[in-house]
């Protein structure tokens, strides 16, 4: 009799579940979304969940956090505009003191007014060695931050650093909610309070984050009342849930774009990024140490074919380290003639003569290389293979090898690696560390041990010069010098692909950095979006 009762219980539970599912299931999927037409909640599907929502610990240091505001932010063309600052920061002619006056009448979501003390607290906490944050690296130039009065903040720098003002996009946190706590595990990290256009409502880790419009936002209340951010790692599942009508906007794999292109009510947005993939050509390697080899390898690769075949069209060729979509780009880096014939001629002139098995040699050394890529990154693997086949065609034998980053780190000073770098913001970011001789071999910085005193000088000029025209000239010259020395073969920029449901005003494209989760992405300025009637 005992078992009979158990069986009955199991069956009733199963039945109850099915009934509940059917009762609630009548309005799922596409029909339901179509009927509500994104009126109440706008649902974004993103592939990576932030580990915390605290700007101090690396949540959106480049801005676009929705919940927080920096002192400054960027418009669609990446120009700095004042945010919590009343006007753009004032920099002294020596480039060492930056003064910011705060906007009046700004309140945190909990109603407390924003003061200069909150700004000082934000920056001092990032500088505190006890706080486990990579943001500290961005503020390497910062020596002290003071608030001479309630509305003014003064940053003093260790040395002149003009691009420092670009770092002021960091979100400002309220001092009263974090003071005296261990920032690394504070409740604030999962229940943030900012001044941004959207206020935090709830976060079910692993599932979704819910934000609501900040009706008192200093920039005007957002038209979208509620924003739901769903965290869905898997590309296929995210595309499926977009198709099923559960999401209003999401980031998709370029391969999936064709599925969405002709759907009524859906728009596919292809947004360029300043995130490049390239091959480092270390000067310490006996083969890539030779300029002719570096030049030939860089010119032999057909980048248009890479974009077509490897990136499914979602990308753009590149010949240098600065994005052609930014004002800093120097078009002189684009070579006038490319292809295998040019590469072969350069190798002939450089003394690399064809040898046994089609592999060139010079002074008894064969042109053989091992190209490393991070195992598991299929995109970099495909790029490595394409690079190797282009090299083989001109007589340079390249063996590709997928390894973990831990092994790559021990070999990257001697062997070429498929790296990813690039930023759409100030050209100083990354290029200084990648090409200045003082950073040679420090961590991932300057892995090719590139050393050109003139480039060092130009990078220093760019960092110290206030005058925009002179700065621009320095970076233009830097690009030409670096590309002439070819310490890298820059290959392609990646495009990010999104699908958005419905028609919106305010949707603007902004060149994206590498990261494109909840912060950057087609929804970077969600607070300005409104349904197009």
């Amino acid at each position: 009799m005992q078992r009979g009762r158990v069986t009955t219980a199991v069956c009733s539970l199963a039945l109850a579940l099915v009934l509940a599912a059917c009762a609630g299931g009548s309005g799922t999927g596409a029909e339901k979304r179509a009927s509500t037409a994104a009126a109440d909640a706008f649902v974004i599907g993103v592939d990576s969940e932030p580990t915390n929502l605290n700007p101090l610990l690396g949540y959106g240091p480049e801005g676009a956090t929705k919940i927080f505001d920096g002192l400054v932010s960027r418009d669609a063309s990446l120009k700095l505009v004042p945010a919590l600052a009343a006007e753009l920061p004032d920099i002294t002619p020596d480039g060492r003191t930056v003064t910011v006056r705060l906007r009046d009448g700004v309140h945190f979501h909990d109603g407390t007014p924003l003061t200069a003390k909150d700004v000082v607290f934000t920056y001092r906490t990032v500088l505190d060695p006890k706080v486990d944050t990579t943001v500290r690296s961005d503020l390497g130039a910062l020596e002290t931050v003071e608030a001479p009065d309630e509305r003014t903040v003064v940053f003093r720098l260790k040395e002149p650093d003009v691009p420092f003002v670009q770092r002021l996009t960091l979100g400002i946190v309220p001092e009263h909610l974090l003071q005296g706590q261990d920032v690394n595990t504070a409740p604030f990290n999962t229940k943030p309070v900012g001044t941004g256009p959207f206020a935090f409502e709830s976060w079910t880790p692993g599932e979704r984050l819910v934000l609501k419009a900040n009706q008192d936002y200093w920039g005007g209340a957002p038209k979208l009342e509620r924003v739901v951010v769903a965290f869905i790692d898997d590309d296929n599942v995210r595309a499926a849930r977009m198709e099923a009508g559960e999401l209003d906007a999401t980031h998709i794999n370029p391969k999936a774009a064709s599925r969405f292109r002709d759907r009524p009510g859906l728009t596919v947005h292809v947004i360029p990024s300043a995130d490049y993939r390239g091959v480092s050509l270390p000067s310490k390697n006996p083969v890539t140490g030779d300029l002719a080899i570096r030049k030939a390898l860089a010119l032999a690769v057909d980048r248009e074919a890479l974009v077509r075949a490897v990136l499914d069209g979602a990308g753009a060729p590149t010949w240098g380290p600065v994005s052609p979509l930014t004002e800093w780009f120097n078009p002189a880096v684009i070579p006038t003639e490319t292809g295998p014939d040019v590469a072969r001629r350069i190798l002939d002139e450089g003394g690399w003569t064809p040898g046994a098995g089609g592999v060139r040699q010079k002074d008894g050394r064969e042109a053989r290389l091992t190209l490393l890529y991070p195992a598991g990154d299929s995109l970099r693997k495909d790029l490595a293979l394409a690079f190797a086949s282009a090299a083989k065609e001109v007589g340079v034998e390249v063996e590709v090898l997928g390894l973990g980053w831990d092994v790559i780190e021990t070999r990257m000073h001697d062997d070429p690696v498929v790296f990813g770098w690039g930023t759409p913001y100030d050209p100083d970011f990354h290029t200084y560390e990648l090409f200045h001789s003082s950073f040679a071999g420090i961590g991932y910085f300057n892995p090719t041990f590139y050393n050109n005193p003139e480039v060092d000088r130009l990078l220093e000029t760019g960092r110290r010069t206030l005058d925009p025209t002179a700065r621009r000239a320095a970076y233009q010259a830097m690009q030409e010098r670096v590309v002439a020395d070819q310490p890298w073969a820059w290959l392609v920029y990646l495009n990010h692909v999104y699908v958005v449901r419905g028609k919106w005003t305010g949707l603007q494209r902004q060149i994206e950095p590498h990261a494109h989760g909840l912060t950057h992405g087609v929804w970077w300025n969600l607070e300005d979006w409104a349904p197009a009637s």
Partner: protein, 346 residues
């Protein structure tokens, strides 16, 4: 196959015992298991710690993520020192174990919150998913296995056996993706994932049940094929035994013979297996939770492992150890209830 194989602490007895004596014995068994679990956990956590330290992956690099390469190595070294990773390994372990004894699970480094917060946020959802799956799995495999044995060599039996082999071979994440494709996209019957409707204000019971059914069914089905085949084999075996022949000879209906005699005898080893199956169910939950975006401990354990978040990983291991010990205990308990010949050897 003998129905009453002896197990640790449980031996067949010809007499049985009084109800009160049995209860006391159960408590003693439970306590003994709990005491045994302590050294097991010490070995497991120390092993976890050593493997973590020997791993070529750097937890600080994982923590820095995409920002790692562009971060000043001095900043990364400072974080390493903050975490005590520059201290000798035994010292790191003892610090962690000391905090654990005081009830402090420590901070989850990769998630910037206390480990206890991660557990409270997620353990309930995992327990719900695994619990419902377990019930579905038991019901499904018992029903299908028994019917299959009863209707041996009919189309039903062949379909069940063939289907079980196919499902046994299919990985649970594949099954999950296939279920999403069929039931969420083609038919639109169930949501494709998550805990509740994405645009809902809060999780309601009906919405959670609707979101639970597909992942729970996938988890149950992916684990049940082996069980179905097992039940089928045992019932077939017992149907050939003397006592079943005796029951038939007494003129009992075939239905009664199968359900009361054959199935009941076959149930015994099954209960033991169900208890030991719990760890596999938990492992399966990791993949199913990830595919269905179910915000449980399974999906976060992947993150903890990739990020070498030792405090979080160790806490999840601790919970899993508890689940296994409790699972075995419950199986033994059920065993004594199902078979009056078995007594608990306190």
């Amino acid at each position: 196959m003998t129905p009453a194989a002896p197990r640790l602490g449980v031996t067949p007895s010809p007499t049985g015992r009084s109800r009160a004596g049995r209860g006391r014995a159960l408590v003693q068994v439970a306590l003994r298991r709990a005491v045994w679990a302590v050294p097991v956990f010490v070995v497991v956590s120390a092993g976890l710690f050593t493997i973590g330290a020997a791993s070529p992956f750097d937890p600080v690099r994982q923590y820095a993520g995409a920002r790692g390469p562009s971060t000043d190595p001095a900043v990364l070294d400072q974080i390493r020192a903050n975490w005590g990773l520059d201290r000798p390994l035994p010292e790191q372990y003892l610090t962690w174990a000391g905090n654990l004894v005081r009830g402090d699970l420590g901070p989850s480094r990769s998630l910037n919150r206390p480990v206890s917060q991660v557990i409270t946020e997620r353990a309930g959802w995992s327990a719900l998913l695994v619990g419902v799956s377990l019930v579905l799995m038991l019901g499904l495999s018992l029903t299908l296995g028994t019917l299959s044995a009863w209707w041996r060599d009919t189309w039903f039996d062949r379909a069940v056996v063939a289907g079980s082999y196919v499902l046994q071979a299919a990985p649970s994440f594949w099954l999950g993706l296939a279920a999403i494709w069929v039931f969420a996209i083609l038919l639109g019957w169930f949501p494709a994932g998550g805990l509740t409707d994405l645009d809902a204000v809060g999780p309601t019971t009906a919405a959670v049940l609707r979101h639970l059914l597909l992942p729970a069914a996938v988890l149950a089905v992916s684990q049940s094929s082996w069980f179905t085949l097992f039940v089928r084999e045992t019932v077939l075996g017992t149907l050939r035994e003397d006592f079943v022949t005796g029951a038939r000879a007494r003129g009992l209906a075939e239905r009664t013979v199968v359900s009361r005699h054959a199935l009941r005898a076959a149930l015994l080893p099954y209960l033991t297996l169900a208890g030991t199956q719990l760890p596999e169910l938990v492992t399966g939950a990791i993949l199913v939770e990830t595919v269905f975006n179910w915000p449980g401990l399974g999906s976060v354990s992947v993150q903890a492992a990739l990020g070498l978040d030792f405090p979080l990983l160790a806490a999840i291991t601790l919970l899993a150890t508890v689940a296994v010990v409790v699972g075995n205990l419950v199986a033994d308990l059920a065993y004594t209830l199902a078979d009056p010949r078995v007594r608990i050897d306190g």
